[in-house]
Amino acid sequence: MSIPLVPLENILFLPMEEFTRTVTGKLRSGGRAAVFFAMPEAGAFRLVMAIAFDLEGRLEFLSTAAAGSFPSLTPELPQLHLFEREIYELTGLKPEGHPWLKPVRFTGAAARPGVAEFFRVHGSEVHEVAVGPVHAGVIEPGHFRFQCYGEKVFQLEIALGYQHRGVERRLAAGPDARGIHYAETLAGDTTAGHAWAYCETIETLCGAAVPARAQVLRAIMLELERLANHTGDLGALSGDVAYLPTASFCGRLRGDFLNMTALLCGNRFGRNMFRPGGVNFDLDAALVKELKARLDAAFRDAENAVALLWKTNSVVDRFDATGLLLADAARGLGLVGPVARACGIPLDTRRNFPFGPYHDFTLSASGRGDVYARAYVRWAEMQKSAQLVDAWLDALPGGPVAAECGPLRPGSAAVSLIEGWRGQICHAAVTDDAGRFRYYKVVDPSFRNWVGLAMALRNGEISDFPLCNKSFNLSYCGHDL
């Protein structure tokens, strides 16, 4: 069951003051902004918010009209801080009273992410450390600015935008043949997650019923993606505390999971598998057998490699109580995914907003918000993913793997929520009178979670940064779009 289509006229429209009051009330009583954007309308803008009530699995839409500026809700509701900055950068609509109104992606020609103004701590022995955009490892570009007292980090500010390549802007010009490629490359390590979200958005808008077999094949892709990335993360965490056995084993095993994905669709990252209406590749009995055998072997080796972590004192000592992020902060900032679950926040889109074949999904993974918890939650999720894939391979529904997608319904809005390996992915689209996209919005879980990393570093040691960063392992390109 996906989130049903909403005719535009059914989106609650409120005067600004009432909008502000209602949003504040709802976000304070268990609501979380799934998406918040400003869409051009009648020479001004319409602010649209979808509020997710995670525990009830319910989504509510609210909107208001704005021109020139609107009162910032960030001082009351920190979870909106980046949405408001984004609205300001994209439209010029100023959130009045926003405490830190910097560009999110530096889309303008004048400024660049690393040379803008940074929040600074003053004092005779306070010093500043600047890192990036080109880092020591083979990773994406970002800039980290630390305010330190000795080894202690008072404040970390993360400046991104280096990967800004105009995907969201171009997606909004669709739907067209390039759309699926944009979705697949929103974050290259989350191809299945974003491609699914994009396809589901289109399917909701055109009313296509995706065949059961296609849904299960999609879910297999999504869980293999989770297995590969979580395995890689556990290996990388191990490497960052200089425990090389698990680092080495997991480096190989991540590849084994990627190669299973390639067995399905030919590409290690899951490209070319998804298409609106279904999937492009099917499995036959021989492939099912091969996948099952490979899954069994890789998972058993992963179990062996990961078990070493919990039994090694030096690893446990470095993971334990490092990069602490409290549940209140995580909730207040609207964090998602394994990072939020590791703080004890029970949000998993697969359970709260079931999609595809996740009918009775249950998984209780929890922790106290340190690196240890973020590592352990990943391991718990890997076990569940392996079980799910194995069970699905045993009982693949019959029938076709794709349905036809007709024209999109005009004047409508659709939101799709998918639990990618980093957390909840949200795609939202609004169609115009001709059934083309009028607006398209992508919220990668990294967009929400980067600030969590900054919070986790507060009062920690700067030498713990690589370890904390790995425990979040967020996407730069998914944020920068």
Partner: protein
């Protein structure tokens, strides 16, 4: 200590032989295209303009994101094989015509003498989706063990013999790319890895992207979206003359 030894025993020796006979992309993978006829249908199926029909035309692997749309639209015209050796030394060599394409040649003999046994690269990620970076990283894992060939990604451009660029080079990364390139001591090589770095990839034509500046000469083009690790490793080893 003992638990690690036991685990190592269970995990086994996993480094693959490379190059080895029979190595190929997965059964459903899309490798080197074979262009049989230059049909208009195939050209029209490509949203990136990678195929030019008619005499003298061909399939430009630099623009290709290996989605297979052309082969699906015109099965008789284009076919993708499982061949992973796709790298070329010059931009125009990436065009696959009726007669195939021109595979990468080693760098000049004097540079090869310097780099042939110890080749250190600074990777610069400049836009893109992070998949090329992931498949470069994988070459450092024990399964691929790129280090055995003397090839390694290093932290500082000062320690590097060249840069490997991924991504379409966004405006926001242009300066950082140039500074990193300038910081590498000569003689140095430049490698464009992936469809984005070669010709913009899925983001071709976006105003947010500028591409590798013309005055930074590229010595090796690695096509793919992203290139398979086999393709990347093959290209790097060809460049330094370790395989031919």
């Amino acid at each position: 200590m003992f638990k690690e030894i036991i685990a190592r025993f269970k995990q086994g020796y996993r480094t693959m032989e490379f190059p080895a006979p029979g190595l190929a992309l997965p059964a459903r993978g899309l490798g080197l295209p074979v262009v049989k006829t230059l049909e208009e249908t195939a050209a029209q199926a490509c949203v990136y303009g990678a195929i030019s029909a008619g005499p003298g035309g061909g399939l430009d692997m630099g623009r290709c994101v290996f989605c297979g749309a052309c082969a699906q639209a015109a099965p008789g015209a284009v076919e993708f094989t499982k061949e992973y050796k796709l790298c070329a030394s010059a931009r125009q060599d990436l065009v696959v015509g009726n007669a195939g394409f021109k595979r990468a040649a080693p760098v000049a003999a004097d540079i090869r003498r310097i780099l042939g046994r110890s080749f250190k690269l600074r990777q610069v990620s400049a836009g893109g989706c992070g998949a090329c970076e992931a498949d470069c990283n994988v070459l450092g894992t024990l399964a691929w063990d790129m280090g055995r060939f003397g090839v390694q990604f290093v932290a500082s451009p000062r320690h590097a013999d060249g840069i490997l660029v991924t991504g379409p080079v966004t405006k926001n990364m242009e300066l950082a790319l140039r500074k990193t390139y300038d910081a590498v001591p000569g003689p140095k090589v430049v490698i464009a890895c992936g469809a984005c770095a070669i010709a913009g990839g899925p983001y071709a034509g976006h105003e947010e992207c500028v591409g590798i500046p013309r005055d930074i000469p590229v010595d090796l083009y690695i096509p793919g979206c992203p290139p398979h690790p086999l393709t990347i490793l093959d290209g790097l080893l060809r460049l330094i003359g370790r395989i031919d």
